[in-house]
């Protein structure tokens, strides 16, 4: 992939700024951008990808040091059909539309994707009576391929689940995909089509908000001029809207905790297992992951906006999750939980998909409350936003004939394609036969390939999300330091400066002494 956009990491550390800057901010020039996207979550990245199909000067920036470092990395990774969305809403429209686009999208973007199907299961009489309503709702949402199943039919599809099942609904197209690769793929293609991408850049002020060209003040000292501002900053969208005086709205972060089970659990379950949804949440799900694990979750716990324990996990809730998930699949008690995680939903009190055009000022669009379905809806939401930008914010759209919409074949993640099984490749590049992450069986070759990939990931977590090194049952016991050493050696960064997710997260305490 030839890279024509510019990439900049604001690494803050003066000592080795050079190796990670890649370019100087001055090289970005002073020509105003047509569109600046603030927030490189899955929504921002999808928008950058779709905008890069046009002749536009686009900037995508994020305060973190990789794409998808916030809500987009902590979700259930289900590509929903939208069968249970609130009928007639924008969310329902975009989710159902995107769901049909996904099989093609996944092929273009080289995102591992599997149409595993979901089973909605009633295990008591109350739920049983709810089932018909869910079925009708699915039909109303245009998801007409759902099927009602008897207890016997459910157990035939999933023999290991609870024998208490009374009845079920099969939703064949509910799917699973790799949530990490999605943001990455969108951004890589956008970059190659000319979108500039900046990491470690936080917008701290906006000058000339009323002007045709606005000026973004950032933490790196440089100002970025832009005609249009797109606020897709997720949990940060509220604070950002304050900077330009957008219409007031409230975010109540809603945490979802998950358990990840060892891969040995996966052979037991093929479908996503769904309990009957309640007013607030979908309840505790048992979800096969594309990576070959099972996960159980999420919880739904409300927080106030600046609570810094919002993404913690708690022993009590995790136990509740295990108990809840075991009601669907009792065999879970036998399985080992290798790790836990949590994600935080951008829950907007004013409603989901809270989108305001020319918010407070001409040329600013606020996109918030992309709470529970943004991963799925991202391609359709991006297209919808482009429509709004064109119609309401006056963005001119001229197709860029040389833009590409796909990643190359070699972009498939190694854990999906297993390069070590290709003896020709190993003969040519022996590093593909050198396993570094024993549990997930990830080779040195794959890690180096990703260090060279378009977004030039340099943090342990960025490499982890791309390769899966450290994501297996030993959780980095064996390979964490090896991966850090590989980044250090290959990129000429001192080992003590290697970080988990950017400055301030160094693996070595900054004031600890060198020890002989």
């Amino acid at each position: 992939m030839s890279v024509s956009g510019k990439l900049f990491y604001h690494w803050m550390d003066k000592d080795f700024d050079e190796s990670l800057k890649f370019i100087d901010t001055e090289q970005l020039g002073d020509i105003p951008y047509d569109v600046t996207i603030i927030g490189a979550g899955v929504v921002g990245c999808a928008l950058a990808y779709k905008l890069s199909m046009y002749k536009l000067r686009v900037l995508l920036l994020d305060k973190n040091y990789d794409v998808g470092e916030a809500t987009s990395k902590g979700n259930s990774a289900i590509v929903h059909t939208g069968f249970d969305a609130a009928v007639g809403t924008l969310e329902s429209e975009l989710v159902t539309k995107a769901s049909r686009e996904w099989p093609q999208l996944a092929k273009k973007l080289k995102i591992p994707y599997e149409e595993c199907g979901a089973l909605l299961i009633a295990i008591n009489n109350e739920q049983n009576t709810q089932l018909d309503k869910v079925y009708e709702k699915a039909l109303k949402n245009g998801v007409t391929d759902v099927q009602q199943l008897s207890a016997e039919q459910v157990l035939e599809l999933e023999p290991q689940i609870t024998k208490n099942v009374l009845r079920g609904i099969l939703i064949p197209r509910e799917s699973i995909a790799d949530p990490f690769s999605t943001s990455i793929a969108y951004a890589e293609i956008a970059l190659s089509n000319g979108v500039d991408i900046l990491f470690g850049i936080e917008v701290i002020g906006i000058e000339n908000v009323d002007g045709k060209v606005k000026s973004l003040i950032t933490n790196c000292g440089k100002k970025f001029d832009t005609r249009i501002i797109v606020n897709v900053a997720g949990l940060g969208s509220r604070k950002l809207a304050d900077l330009y005086g957008g219409e007031p709205f409230d975010i109540n972060p809603r945490r979802g905790q998950f358990l990840i089970f060892d891969k040995f659990s996966r052979s037991a379950i093929d479908h996503i297992l769904l309990p009957i949804p309640t007013a607030n949440t979908k309840g505790v799900l048992v979800i096969p992951t594309i990576f070959g694990n099972l996960i159980a979750g999420p919880t739904a716990e409300d927080f106030i906006i600046d609570d810094n324990t919002v993404s913690d996990t708690t022993v009590e809730r995790l136990q509740e999750l295990l108990d809840g998930a075991s009601k669907l699949y009792p065999g879970l008690y036998e399985q080992s939980v290798i790790t836990t995680f949590s994600g935080v939903r951008c829950n907007c009190s004013q409603g989901s998909y809270w989108i305001r055009c020319n918010d407070g000022h001409q040329g600013i669009i606020t996109v918030s409350g992309i709470r529970s379905t943004g991963f799925t809806s991202s391609p359709a939401l991006a297209e919808y936003l482009i429509g709004e930008l064109h119609e309401k914010l006056g963005l001119n759209l001229n197709v860029n004939p040389v833009a590409i919409d796909s990643r190359s074949e070699s972009s498939w993640p190694g854990w999906w394609k297993r390069p070590y099984s290709n003896n020709e490749l190993v003969k040519e590049s022996p590093e593909y036969g050198r396993v570094v992450c024993y549990c997930e069986q990830i080779s040195l070759g794959e890690i180096i390939q990703h260090l060279d990939s378009p977004l030039k990931p340099r943090t342990l977590d960025a490499i982890k999300r791309r390769t899966r090194a450290q994501m297996g049952r030993c959780q980095g016991f064996d390979c964490m330091v090896n991966v850090a050493e590989i980044i250090s050696n290959y990129c000429n960064i001192p080992l003590n400066k290697i970080t988990k997710r950017g400055p301030g997260s160094e693996i070595i305490s900054t004031n600890a002494e060198q020890y002989q």
Partner: protein, 322 residues
């Protein structure tokens, strides 16, 4: 895929147990043996405990009157024993899968790519790792950087001469935790706090007395149900019994769990939660011709115990073959 190479005995893992088995099998006249090791050196866990001036010796040679040694020295001794034999040594070779019925291993290495090896008998000497916080079940909270396992600490401290923290907090009170506290103190960190979910440390009195030469960590037992790690970007402490104990780094120590995933994947019987392979008499596993030696058997065993255990398993293998 390349063709299958056949051996009398294959040993997975060149730690103390695997080397013990290789040496004893050779002495018993078994000719074609290969030992397969995924790291780039012989010696297993001891090889990560480097020899350092003023450093802490954490391994004991009971057969030599109970003298404490550096792991690296013991690993070098193991290497010498192994080199003396004619055993084929395959380093940087990871066993990916097994076929238990056919006694075939699929492995991958930079030289050969993916290949199959078969044997009349196979010894699993894969060792163990430390349980994750989730596996322990009473550790939650945030997920900052600088929460290490002991092996990671060793790789930084001994392998790269980097002291990762000044004020360590150690979760896990068995001998590995006390050894880590001593090593950190010897390297210049301050006295560690050790926490565990029991009222008294798991490390024995005599072992603790030995580590007093270097350090006298403060032990705090958990009376509540759980602890929470605190810190957004880097570990800043743990909440324990209602108060926050500050630190600038955490080491998760001990509570070993067997590396038995190959067995489990290959339908050899393994206890699910403890991950201990089910062992019949003479260290035989549930499939004929498969044996286990060393720390993969479960529990904590010192390196020399594992070496001698490997020799005992070798005797069982020889009996099986004849």
């Amino acid at each position: 895929m390349n063709s299958v190479k056949h051996f009398n005995v294959l040993i997975i893992g060149a730690g103390p147990a695997g080397v013990g088995a290789a040496v004893a099998l050779t002495k018993r006249g078994i000719k074609s043996i290969a030992i397969i090791e995924r790291s780039d050196k012989i010696g297993g866990i001891p090889s990560f405990y480097k020899k350092k001036k003023g450093g802490v010796r954490t391994f004991v040679r009971w057969s030599r009157g109970g003298i404490p040694v550096f792991g690296e020295d013991y690993a070098q001794w193991l290497e010498k024993q192994l080199i003396k034999t004619k055993v084929q040594i395959e380093l940087q070779s990871q066993v990916l899968n097994i076929d238990a019925k056919k006694k075939i291993l699929t492995l991958v290495s930079p030289e050969e790519g993916e290949v199959n090896y078969s044997a009349d008998a196979i010894v699993m000497a894969c060792g163990s790792r430390e349980e994750t916080p989730a596996e322990r079940g009473w550790i939650a909270g945030s997920r900052p950087v600088r929460v290490f396992y002991t092996k990671q600490l060793l790789r930084l401290l001994d392998g790269n001469h980097l002291l990762p923290m000044n004020n360590p907090l150690i979760i896990g009170s068995d001998v590995i935790g006390y050894a880590a506290a001593a090593k950190l103190k010897a390297a210049g960190a301050s006295e560690a706090v050790i926490v565990d979910n029991c009222s008294r440390p798991k490390c024995s009195f005599f072992e603790r007395l030995y580590f007093r030469i270097w350090s006298n960590p403060d032990y705090q037992g958990l009376s509540a149900k759980s602890i929470e790690v605190t810190g957004i970007k880097t570990a800043s402490g743990v909440n324990l019994n209602g108060k926050n104990i500050p630190c600038d780094g955490i080491v998760i120590c001990g509570e070993l769990i067997p590396n038995s995933e190959l067995a489990l994947n290959g339908d050899i019987k393994v206890e699910l939660h403890s991950r201990k392979p089910v062992v019949a008499k003479d260290y035989q596993l549930s499939e004929p011709g498969w044996f286990a030696a060393g720390n993969i058997l479960g529990g904590f065993h010192g390196a020399e115990w594992c070496y001698f255990n490997g020799q005992r398993v070798a005797r069982a293998v020889a009996n099986y073959l004849s």
